[in-house]
Symmetry: C2
Subunit: 484 residues, 2 copies
Amino acid sequence: MNDRNTERMVFLEREIEHWDRRTDVLVIGLGCAGACAALEAAATGVDVLALERASAGGGTSALSGGVLYMGGGTAVQKTAGFDDSPEEMWKYLLYASGPGPDEAKVQAFCEGSLEHFAWIVQQGVEFKPVFYPHYSGEPPNDDGLVYSGNENAWPYNEVARPAPRGHVPRIDGAAGGLLMRTLLSRVEDAGIQVLGDALCEGLVQRDDGSIAGAVARIGGECVSIGASGGVVVTTGGFINNDEMLALHAPLLKRCTFRVGAEGDDGSGIRMGMAVGASTLHLGMGSISLPVHPPKSVSKGLLFNRAGQRFINEDVYMGLLGEHVLFRQDGEAYLLFDDANFVRPEIERDLVAVGDTPAELEAELGIPPGALEGTLAYYNRNAKRGEDPLFHKGPDYLVPLETPPFGVFDCRVDHSFFAAFTLGGLRSNEKSQVLSGSGEPIPGLYAAGRATSGIAAPGYSSGLSLGDGSFFGRRAGREAALRRA
Amino acid sequence: MNDRNTERMVFLEREIEHWDRRTDVLVIGLGCAGACAALEAAATGVDVLALERASAGGGTSALSGGVLYMGGGTAVQKTAGFDDSPEEMWKYLLYASGPGPDEAKVQAFCEGSLEHFAWIVQQGVEFKPVFYPHYSGEPPNDDGLVYSGNENAWPYNEVARPAPRGHVPRIDGAAGGLLMRTLLSRVEDAGIQVLGDALCEGLVQRDDGSIAGAVARIGGECVSIGASGGVVVTTGGFINNDEMLALHAPLLKRCTFRVGAEGDDGSGIRMGMAVGASTLHLGMGSISLPVHPPKSVSKGLLFNRAGQRFINEDVYMGLLGEHVLFRQDGEAYLLFDDANFVRPEIERDLVAVGDTPAELEAELGIPPGALEGTLAYYNRNAKRGEDPLFHKGPDYLVPLETPPFGVFDCRVDHSFFAAFTLGGLRSNEKSQVLSGSGEPIPGLYAAGRATSGIAAPGYSSGLSLGDGSFFGRRAGREAALRRA
C-alpha cells in the first residue's frame, strides 16, 4: 500500500486497497502491558497479532526492576505478615496519586488487585513471600515484597494503614527480565503471533472515527493490518524523544538517567493524537533521586539552596525527586554529621566538608546563617524526638551535632536522577482511549506508559508494571469482546 | 445538514452535502485574538466571517484589565522615560517563560512588537504615555504603562534590563472593554460579517487531514460553512469547564475566582484535538495572588506552613500565585509588624495577631519556633540592607520588629486567588495548529488562550491580549494568504 500519510500518522480506511493481513486483536508494542493484553485477548479464543519494533518483546519492562504494585491482601502480603485490604490500598493511592487522581481507574485497580495477583501467579510468575525491610525499592536478593512508595512515610501513614505493595518476582536482581521472559513464554504457549522489527506507522481510521487497524513497516515493507476487534496501543512513554520532552516535559531533560528502552519515543501517543485522542499529564514524570540505600541515609538532613529543609528525609525516592525537580528548581543537598555519616550506595559527590555549618555555607554558596538556623532548629527538636516541620519517622530522627559535617550533592544537573514519563493517552477504566470530548474512540485501547495511568503525579514504583499489566489485560479483553 | 458527529466534534467533508455558507477565512470566537485575526485577514481583501457564541463579540478580553504586553521601545515607553529594546524584551521573556519556552514564538513576538504596537494604535487604541509606578498591574487611572510581570524583581532584573511593558488603553478602569469596543468598531468598519449566538460544533476535515470549514449551530439550525483559506480558532481557554479542569489542571479548581467569560469552556481546544491537533501545557494557568496594591505590602514577610520564607515578596502577583499553588500546596501567610502594617486593598482575612512570633505560631498551627527563626534571620539581614535568601528590593526591605504582629491569610482555599488557563492547542509562530507529529494541519490556525501562548508557566499580565492580538493577526493573514 502507499505510505503518503506517514507524517500524519493516520490512514483512512478507504485508502487501504486491501488488508495485507487480518486479525481480531492487534497489539502494538510487546512489553508487560502488551503481553498481558495479548494473553487476555487470546484467552477469549480470538486471533491475536502482536507487533514489536525491536527484534523481540520485552521493552522497558524487561529492563526494569520488575516491581509490580499489587495489594489488598495478597498471599505474599499475608505470609510476610502484613494486613492489607482493597480499601486501604485505595485510600493510599487516591491520596498519593494527586492532585486530580482518576478515581474510576484507582477504584478498578484496587478492587481487582487480588484477582490480578492470582492471574500473574497463574502465568508462572513466582514471588518469595518474604518482606525486604532494609530500604524501599527493588531488593538486592530474591525477597518478594518491598515498600515501593510512601506508604510508611508521613503524612501517607496517617491516611491509610501502611502495607508494602511492591511485589518482586523471585530472582536475585533483574526481576523485570524474569517477569518478561515468563510472560513472553506464555504468549508463545498461547499461539499468539509476534512480529519483531515491526514499526507501526499509523492507525487506520474509518469515516465514523473508529479504528479499523494499523499500518506497519515490517522488513522494509508497508503492511496494512485489519483488526476486527480493535487495536491495543502499548508502546511505552516518550523519555527517549528529545523533541517531545522539550515540548511537554522540559524539566525531565535535566535528569541524568533516562529509564526506557530505545523505542520509548512516544510513537503510540502521537498515533493516538492523530486520530483525535486526548492526552493527559504530559508534563509529569517519575523522578527518582535515590539517596537510599542504605535506608540509614534517612538520618541525614536534606536542604535546598536557601538552606531550608523541605521534606521528611524518609520519603520514597520518587516523591523526593519530584519535589526537588518541580518545587526546588532541581537543587538540594544532603547533610550528615560524623556520628551518623553514611555514603549513599549509588555514588554521589561529597561537595562540602566542614566543622561548622558556616563553613559548609561558604563552600556551597548558601546564604550565611541559613543552614546554621535550619540545623539548630532540627537538632533542638530531634533531641526531643520531634520533627514538627515534616514528621520524619523516629528511626531516623537523630540530632546531627558531631563535626565534621559532610554534604552530598543532590542537584539534578550534577548528580544521579532517573526519569521516565508518566503522561500519555487518556484512557478510561476499560482501557478505551478517549477523545478530547471524553468519548471512547471505538476500536482503540491502550495501557502502560503510552497512557497516563494510576499516578501522575505521585508515583510509587511498581505502578507502571502494575497498571500496565492490569489495564493491559482489560484492553485485550475489551478489544476481543468487541470483535464478537 | 445532519449532526450525528457532534459528539466527535469533527465532520468529514464528504458528509457535507452542500455548504450552507462559504467564506475565505472563518474566525471562531470574537475576543481580542479573533478580532485581530478578522481585521488582518480582511485587510488582504478576502471575505471574512466571524462566529461568536455570545450575542456579541468581546469575550474574556472585554472583561479583562486591558493590559497588552508590548515593548522593545514603543513610543509610550520612550515618552514615559524607559529604555527598552527587542533584545531586552526577548531576554526577559525567554527567561521568564520557562521551563521550555517556545523560542520561535518568543522571538517573533519580540521582533514584531514595535510594528504590532503601531498597528494597535492605528486601530484607534490610545495609550497615555505616563508610567503608573505605585504597583504592578492595571492602574486605577488612565495611565498607560505599568509593570505587569517580574521585570524589576530578582532574579529577572539581573537577566534583562527592567522596563515596564504593560500597555493599558486610555480610560479610568475597564480598559479591556474599551479595547474591545475599539477593535469591534474596526471590524464593523471593515465590513466583516459577524454572526452572534453562533456556537461552533466541530471542524470539517478533508480526507488528507486539511480543514475545509466548520459546522455551527446558529439560531437552532446546524449550518455548514466552507472556508477556502482556513479556519481560525480563537475561542479562549477552559477555566469554565469543570471537567477539563479536573482532568488537566485540577489545582486551578481551588482558586476562588475564575477569570473568563462564560464561553471559556475549551470548545475550540477540543475541536482541535478531534482533528488530530496536539495540545501543550494543559496543566498550566495564570494564578494571581493579589496581595498588592498597595505596593508597600511588599514590606511584609511571606511564609509557608513550615514557617519558612519561599520567595521575594516584591515579585509579581502571578509568580507569587504560581509558587503558592504549585510549590507550597496552596498555603501561605503574610506577616507585618505594627510599624509597617498595611492592609491589602483586595480584602484578605487577618488570621492571627500577637505580640510575639510564638503567639502567631500557636494561632496558626505553625510548628513552634519555626516562624520565630525565620523572622529573626530576616530581621538580622534586613538591618544590614540584605536579603540573602531571596533578594527583595531595597525599597521594601525593612526589619519587622514592632509588636503587635498581624498575619493575613494567603491560602488558596481560604482567600482570593484568580485563575485562568494557559494551556491549549499547540501552534507555531505562524499560528498554524500542529499535529502530534509536529506538522501543521493545513487550513487550521489558532491564537489567544485557545492556544498555549508565549508563557506557560511564567505568566506576565498582558501576555494573553499581547500574544492573542499578535498571533491572532498572524493567523488571519496566513489563512487569507492560503486562499490565494
